[in-house]
């Protein structure tokens, strides 16, 4: 530190030995206050960057200060001095000047000068915190076969000297070095030494463990919750270039959406197919049946055999194990089925599930499909009202149902309602009559006919509803008993 220019109107030039030279600033500030030099007259200059603290003037013997300074201000100043803002020394001196007239000035956080200093200090503390977090050591072997951990780091402010203590406390029994553009620090287990600034090329190029760390980073990321902004807020891009894991960020983000959609698709298919896959692994190790069914499903998704594909959301194909003993055929998907892409999940589907349960049938052991695979509806305002498929549509879609049955070869098929019965037999069937005894289909297997669950939902009278419901469950019980007989 040197002081030049002492006459009353000349600017006073203060030269500090280093960018983070707190002691130099403090000594100069003390002299200036004692001389009554107003902040406007002082010009602060740093000599040749951070450089060597010991190369400049010898430290002055501590003089007995003629005034005291608040501890709070000293802490603030020690942080602010490390900032890269060239005005920092002047601002601190202005604050110190202000404190001479008003000892309480440190408590007024709404004061613009104090506010600015607090912000600078906050930025320094943040940079320091990020240094604690983002320094990445690489292990290298030294001549005496001992290891040293070396890191390359680029801080935003002049914090390296200030933060050395953190690494000493944490890694006291390791040898380590932190190289930065302005300054290097080295620890040998007992003492800390400083060296000149370095370049990235001086630091080791890699560490075999980094691959393991990257594996961890990629695995701990949850693709279902992409929050890139939250990440970059806490880990700004300026730090990325010295962190090995940051190479993974772009591919992880790009893959995330695809991974989540795939996960949902897979679970959706598996919700119906989990059993199928399992059962089929048992019966057909080659997996031909499943491949055929999947091929069929892929075809059905593209189906344009009738006009219904134009208005519905998607083809709602059958689901269930491919070795099911019972195959249920319904009428057509409803509003909710159309959106979800799965059969029998809406109100009628829930009633169906409950009835199956009462009858002791496990739905996951049966195959459930519809006679018509697209939702037919009339749009009324925002609602989509179900409308009955006509004979042409049933006929067009029959092909799919026959393919499903040809693959699964169920010993017992159940027609839920007249549409299903028509699709299966090709004729108009009266439910009440057909309900009594099973029909025989073309392939020789049995077909049982009963009502569609949505019929039960539409009965207005409660007592009749309950009676019909009981009858439906009774039908299902008989069907189960018969299926058990056939597969026994």
């Amino acid at each position: 530190m040197s002081i030049a220019g002492r006459s009353a109107d000349q600017p006073v030039r203060i030269t500090l030995a280093a960018a983070d030279d707190f002691d130099g600033w403090r000594d100069a500030a003390r002299d200036l206050i004692e001389a009554g030099t107003a902040p406007e007259r002082v010009v602060w200059i740093v000599e040749g960057g951070v450089g060597d603290l010991f190369g400049g003037d010898a430290p002055r013997p501590p003089a007995a200060p003629s005034f005291s300074v608040l501890r709070q201000f000293v802490d603030l100043a020690k942080a602010v001095v490390c900032h890269s803002d060239p005005e920092r020394f002047g601002l601190l001196y202005a604050m110190l000047w202000k404190l001479q007239g008003n000892r309480k000035a440190m408590e007024d956080r709404a004061d613009p000068l104090l506010d600015r200093l607090e912000r600078l200090a906050k930025e320094v503390r943040r940079d320091a915190h990020k240094m604690h977090a983002f320094v990445r050591f690489r292990e290298v072997e030294e001549e005496d076969n001992k290891t040293r951990f070396v890191a390359w780091f680029e801080p935003e402010h002049h914090i390296v000297r200030r933060e050395a203590g953190f690494f000493v406390r944490r890694f006291a029994n390791m040898r380590w070095s932190i190289l930065t553009p302005e300054l290097s620090i080295h620890w040998n287990g007992t003492t800390l030494t400083e060296g000149p600034g370095a370049t990235k090329a001086d630091a080791p190029g890699g560490d075999p463990l980094e691959e393991t760390w990257k594996t961890y980073y990629a695995s701990v990321f949850n693709p279902a919750r992409l929050k890139v902004k939250a990440m970059t807020k806490e880990m700004p891009k300026k730090y990325w270039r010295n962190m090995p894991e940051s190479a993974l960020i772009a591919p992880l983000i790009a893959g995330a959406r695809a991974r989540e959609v795939e996960m949902i698709d897979r679970s959706a298919a598996e919700a119906g197919m989990a059993g199928a896959l399992e059962a089929e692994r048992r019966i057909e190790p080659g997996g031909n049946l499943r491949a055929a069914w999947e091929g069929l499903l892929a075809e059905a998704r593209q189906c344009t055999r009738c006009d219904l594909y134009k208005c519905g959301t998607q083809t709602v194909f059958g689901e269930g194990p491919l070795d099911a003993a019972i195959l249920f055929v319904g009428e057509q998907p409803g509003d909710q089925e159309d959106l979800a892409g799965r059969p029998f999940i809406g109100p009628a589907g829930q009633l169906f599930d409950a009835s199956l349960q009462q009858a002791g049938i496990d739905r996951s052991q049966t195959y459930v499909t519809n006679a018509v695979k697209h939702f037919k509806f009339e749009a009324r305002g925002k609602r989509r009202i179900h409308s009955k498929p006509d004979a042409g549509e049933i006929e067009a879609c029959r092909w799919w149902q026959e393919q499903e049955r040809a693959l699964i070869k169920p010993p017992l098929t159940v027609a839920l309602g007249a549409t299903a019965a028509r699709s299966l037999t090709g004729k108009t069937v009266t439910i009440s009559r057909a309900r009594e005894a099973p029909l025989t289909l073309v392939d020789g297997s049995e077909c049982w006919v009963t009502v569609h669950p949505s019929f039960l939902l539409r009965i207005p009278e409660e007592d009749r509803k309950a009676a019909e419901r009981a009858r439906f469950v009774e039908d299902l019980r008989r069907i189960k008993a018969r299926a058990d007989e056939l597969t026994a």
């Binding site: 408590e107 007024d108 956080r109 709404a110 004061d111 613009p112 506010d115 915190h129 977090a133 983002f134 320094v135 990445r136 050591f137 690489r138 951990f149 890191a151 406390r169 944490r170 890694f171 006291a172 029994n173 390791m174 463990l209 393991t212 760390w213 594996t215 961890y216 980073y217 990629a218 695995s219 701990v220 990321f221 949850n222 279902a224 919750r225 992409l226 929050k227 890139v228 902004k229 939250a230 990440m231 806490e234 880990m235 962190m243 894991e245 960020i249 992880l252 983000i253 995330a256 959406r257 989540e260 959609v261 996960m263 949902i264 897979r266 679970s267 959706a268 598996e270 919700a271 989990a274």
Partner: protein, 414 residues
């Protein structure tokens, strides 16, 4: 099955642990290794060593010892009936990995949980062994977070607490029916029993610590828990009330909320779509209101709609203020702390600064602006020396003026 190497195991067991939101490494005792022994330090404040693109911080090596499990909880990727690949670390492997990562400054320490293999006690023993080895064999002074396994022997839990900084056990679902449906083998009573035990041990050692300097410390960073949001029908109101009873009864440091996220090979009982991530964020905000802003749980619930759900398009504090406008405007120059804390847009730090500074000046709107992020948000609710909102506070369209601007909808949003 072919032998997996450490990296393959790490991929499986880190993936299996990632649905646990907790990653804090803060609040434990101050210590370092300058006495010439050991490795590591902790300085009270946690450090996040990296952030994943999901916005979550990576502070600890968060892994399971094994992802095999005898339980069949539907929301869990590691449940018995799931088809995920299984792997298992030895205690030694976890210890080595923790030390190697720590020495390179990748992590603050270890977060170790496990699927339940053989029995609860056997599993807990394995967890304790890892912590013991780190602390005793390697004099590790970084952070250790251990999961309590439900039903484990209290003696094992006590040993775990002597090595760990933090203990946690997840309540998982906010309501008992939810737990029964989705985690049939778990029971709320047993989970809370285990929490009670940990709390008892913490209190006891704290008490002993006051009298004897050499008394061992038990889980100095306390205990925490996690609730899954959106896997069952519980409303935000249910969750807030549950969290508040947990804070009260077990003096928890934190309750984490984890938005249910679709997991590979999901159980059919679960919803396939995730709840909006914003819901999780709103729950954290309400948690903060209870812990730092003097809101009672009932008051947070008042901010929710008739179904008990907090609004997604604005934070709960703003929602509360808009519902109870009779409490506003608040005079920044005279109001007590409790009233200032109710002002949307004024955080605890800003309030403290206002209280300190107003002894020296009469606050104008500009002064407030310097202490807050957005004065526009604060303005309708405060009175300053040069500002009075007059009709603004009572305007019917105030919510639209204050809500964050609508963004383009996400094409595939839930």
């Amino acid at each position: 099955m072919a032998q997996l190497d450490t990296r393959e195991k790490l991929a499986i067991l880190a993936d299996a642990a990632k649905y646990d939101a907790s990653c804090a490494s803060s609040g434990t005792t101050k210590r370092d290794s300058r006495d010439g022994k050991g490795l590591g330090s902790s300085e009270g404040m946690g450090i996040c060593h990296a952030y994943a693109p999901d916005g979550r911080c990576i502070s600890l090596l968060k892994i399971l010892l094994t992802n095999s499990c005898i339980f069949d909880c539907h929301y869990c990727i590691n449940r018995k009936s799931s088809n995920v690949r299984r792997a298992r670390f030895t205690a030694q492997e976890v210890v080595n990995l923790t030390l190697a990562f720590y020495k390179r400054n990748y992590i603050e320490g270890l977060f170790l949980s496990s699927g339940i293999v053989r029995s609860s006690n056997y599993t807990m023993e394995q967890l304790v062994e890892v912590a013991r080895s780190l602390r005793e064999d390697h004099d590790f002074r970084g952070y250790i977070h251990l999961k309590t396994i439900p039903d484990a022997d209290p003696e094992l839990v006590r040993q775990a607490g002597l090595h760990a900084d933090r203990m946690s056990i997840n309540v998982e679902l906010p309501t008992e029916p939810g737990l029964k449906r989705l985690a049939p083998e778990k029971s709320a009573a047993r989970i809370e029993g285990a929490m009670g035990e940990v709390k008892g041990a913490i209190d006891e050692t704290k008490d002993a610590g006051k009298r004897f300097k050499s008394a061992p410390r038990f889980a100095p960073a306390g205990q925490s828990t996690q609730m899954i949001v959106g896997a069952d029908a519980a409303s935000d109101g249910d969750i807030v009330r549950k969290a508040s009873t947990l804070y009260d009864r077990f003096a928890l440091r934190r309750v984490y909320y984890s938005a249910f996220s679709p997991i590979p090979d999901a159980s059919a009982v679960l919803p396939l779509q995730r709840p909006p991530l914003m819901r999780e964020h709103r729950l954290y905000q309400s948690d903060w209101l209870m812990r730092f802003y003097g809101f009672k749980p009932a008051e947070v619930v008042q901010a929710a709609d008739a179904n008990g759900m907090l609004p997604l398009d604005m934070d709960p504090k703003l929602a509360w203020a808009l519902k109870f406008r009779e409490h506003f405007p608040v005079d920044v120059n005279r109001a007590p702390r409790e009233q200032l804390l109710r002002v949307p847009g004024l955080g605890t730090k800003a309030v403290d600064r206002i209280l300190k500074s107003r002894r020296f000046r009469r606050f104008t709107l500009d002064d407030v602006a310097r202490l807050t992020v957005s004065v526009a948000k604060v303005r309708p609710f405060i009175v300053t020396a040069d500002w009075r909102p007059t009709l603004l506070t009572d305007r019917a369209d105030l919510p639209t003026l204050l809500k964050p601007k609508q963004k383009q909808l996400e094409l595939f949003a839930a």
